[in-house]
């Protein structure tokens, strides 16, 4: 009798473990609810205002869906997007290519929000230049746009042959300012705003290169998983978020006090600091400017530089033998890479619809 009791107890335990293991997979019923992940950056902070001001809710209600906006750390937001925990995420063109797209998550950029026009910079002490840089350790967050910017700076200054001599120190962005400023023996650093502003406040530091010299190469996008976009309610979501975005940006560009105040508050910046960041952020304020850029020929050349960089640095993973294995589709139908492996799509349809007032 006792043995029987125990056996049923053991069975019950085993059953409970199985249920616990299977349950998460079985859950997740279909509800027209979408989550957008964003992270702190001048060009993305408006998402915070978009939600606070009720603009997002207005547009979501119009299409009968629910949209949630959630702030992440940048790396965590990308992880969540690749793991399919969120439907859309803000990211740069480089990360869109080397993270979700290279990991086989078919992704579509529906909003080209802005490009970095000086937000990222190479800063040095003691009058170093690109010719003397290879001898000194450079602090930066490796494998990000910082490293891309540094390489582009080297190439544009005729130092391509010395690229392999660069000595890089991978430094977390949360500590890079303190680590660089507190020790005069650190000679060079590559980072982004507002960190750049904090560093150049030190008079002995000068900027020798910034992203305004490579306009349109570091793009800030809103990327949606293509499978979400292919669902009818996913299209509603894309329309709603695009509509909400351009209404938000229009207010921001018009200098509406609340828009700037909340966008600055999103990253804990002062209003002055945020305005200064906006100056070096080339926002595509109107949907027309964004759509024109996305449809234009420049984008393909710029993406070509980015994808070659990603491949050369192994950012596409060990198994990827060529940059062509992660192909990019452009609005005019051009495919960069192998036709059967399209992973990243630029879609200007929603921006065009916003331009024509069809949202």
């Amino acid at each position: 009798m006792q043995a029987f009791k125990l056996r049923s107890l053991a069975l019950a335990c085993a059953f409970a473990i199985c249920v616990a293991a299977v349950a998460p997979a079985a859950a997740s019923a279909q509800t027209p609810s979408f989550t957008v992940g964003w992270s702190v950056y001048a060009g993305w902070n408006p998402y915070f205002y978009m939600q606070k001001s009720g603009i997002l809710k207005k547009w979501a209600d119009k299409y009968g869906i629910a949209i949630k906006v959630q702030r992440f750390d940048y790396a965590a937001s990308l992880d969540a997007f690749v793991a399919k925990n969120i439907d859309a995420c803000t990211m740069t063109n480089m990360e869109a290519f080397d993270l979700p797209a290279a990991a086989g998550v078919d992704s579509t950029a529906i909003i080209v929000g802005d490009y970095s026009n000086g937000n990222d910079a190479v800063l040095v002490r003691n009058g170093l230049n690109f010719a003397t840089l290879p001898t000194k350790p450079v602090m930066l967050v490796q494998k990000t746009v910082s490293e891309y910017l540094l390489e582009r700076g080297m190439v544009l200054n005729g130092q391509q042959a010395n690229l392999s001599k660069l000595k890089l120190i991978n430094t977390s962005d949360s500590d890079i300012v303190a680590a660089f400023l507190n020790n005069k023996s650190n000679q060079a650093v590559v980072t982004w705003k507002p960190l750049v502003s904090q560093i150049v406040a030190d008079k002995s530091v000068t900027s020798i290169f910034d992203s305004s010299k490579i306009p349109g190469e570091i793009l800030d996008l809103l990327v949606v998983r293509t499978e979400v976009l292919n669902r009818p309610d996913g299209q509603k979501f894309a329309k709603a978020i695009t509509g909400a975005w351009y209404e938000t940006v229009a207010q921001l560009a018009a200098g509406q006090a609340n828009a700037i105040k909340y966008s600055a508050a999103a990253s804990g910046d002062s209003i002055e600091s945020y305005k200064e960041q906006l100056k070096t952020t080339a926002l595509f304020v109107t949907p027309k400017s964004a759509a024109d850029f996305t449809d234009g020929p420049d984008l393909q050349q710029k993406m070509d530089l980015v994808r070659k960089f990603c491949f050369a640095h192994g950012l596409l993973g060990e198994g990827t033998k060529s940059a062509d294995d992660v192909a990019i589709l452009y609005p005019n139908g051009t495919i960069q890479g192998r036709k059967d492996r399209v992973r990243l799509r630029y879609n200007s349809a929603y921006m065009l619809a916003a331009e024509q007032g069809k949202l």
Partner: protein
């Protein structure tokens, strides 16, 4: 007698086979769950990187063990032997640089233990140090990092200092307690046998607490590794945690997972060797 005897019987003696099987059970369950998750994710997306399957893992291990790190200059010639390629590989280089930091920090804990002996035994030292260490132990070492950067630069020493500052106070307090729990009678007895102060400290007390010190060190291995990882993730140009931080940037779980297991294995080896040394050196000690 049923196979499933009462699991809450203190005097139960499961037979050898059953013991082995039970101890393997959770490993098998974990591996099974992993493989199931991996398979289901790969059904959905054949290129999934979040939970790599065995082929991706094998390829990852192979490139970690045989290929040089991307930033490395000393690339082995094409016709190099496997040993030579291993010697120039990513994992070798990272293990060497992390290992150096780890063992330097470990070595720096020796003076901390000696200091603890003095604090516990000599009232003058106790008066001078104990309160400060007690206070310092409560400082969260990671929050001191900007200061460490100023004092030690961003190179090796700031990482080693982080480990030592993080672990040493705890060790000192722990060892001080051990020293204090040595019976006073023994110390008095040693004095009556004409021992001087240092005889008592090093030949009576220190020898006695030594096995406990080693056990305390074993428990502190993981915090040490944790601090080392934190340091390497914040600023480094090589090391095991550096590689993991870099790989995380493009979700190279095929490299990260083998690295994590490798670190666990190394820690296990260090722990095992400390345990064996302890048993050999102090067979009289019953832990």
């Amino acid at each position: 007698m049923a196979i499933l005897a009462n699991p809450f019987d203190i005097q139960a003696r499961p037979n050898r086979l059953l013991t082995q099987a039970l101890s393997c059970l959770l490993f098998v369950v974990c591996i099974g769950l992993y493989m199931q998750t991996s398979a289901s994710r790969h059904r959905e997306n054949p290129e999934d990187r979040v939970v790599p399957n065995q082929h991706q893992l094998l390829a990852g291990i192979k490139s970690a063990v045989l290929e040089p790190a991307e930033e490395d200059d000393s690339i082995a010639p094409d016709n190099a032997s496997t040993w030579e390629r291993l010697h120039h590989s990513m994992i070798w280089k990272d293990t060497a640089s992390s290992g150096r930091r780890f063992f330097i920090a470990l070595f720096l804990l020796v003076p901390a233990v000696i200091l603890a002996l003095h604090i516990g035994l000599f009232p003058w030292f106790g008066a001078g140090f104990l309160r400060f260490v007690l206070f310092f132990d409560k400082i969260v070492a990671l929050s001191l990092l900007p200061i460490l950067f100023i004092v030690f630069g961003i190179e090796e020493w700031s990482k080693i200092a982080l480990i030592v500052i993080g672990v040493a106070p705890t060790m000192i307090l722990d060892v001080t307690q051990m020293v204090k729990s040595v019976p006073q009678e023994q110390i008095v007895k040693a004095f009556t046998l004409d021992a001087n102060n240092f005889d008592v400290a090093y030949r009576v007390v220190f020898r006695q607490v030594m096995p406990q010190v080693i056990n305390s060190l074993r428990l502190n291995l993981k915090p040490m590794m944790l601090f080392l990882f934190a340091g390497e993730m914040i600023a480094a140009s090589d090391g095991l945690a550096y590689r993991i931080a870099i790989m995380r940037r493009h979700m190279g779980m095929d490299i990260i997972l083998p690295y994590v297991l490798w670190v666990a294995f190394l820690l296990f080896l260090i722990d095992l060797s400390l345990r064996v040394i302890n048993r050999r050196m102090h067979p009289w000690f019953q832990a």
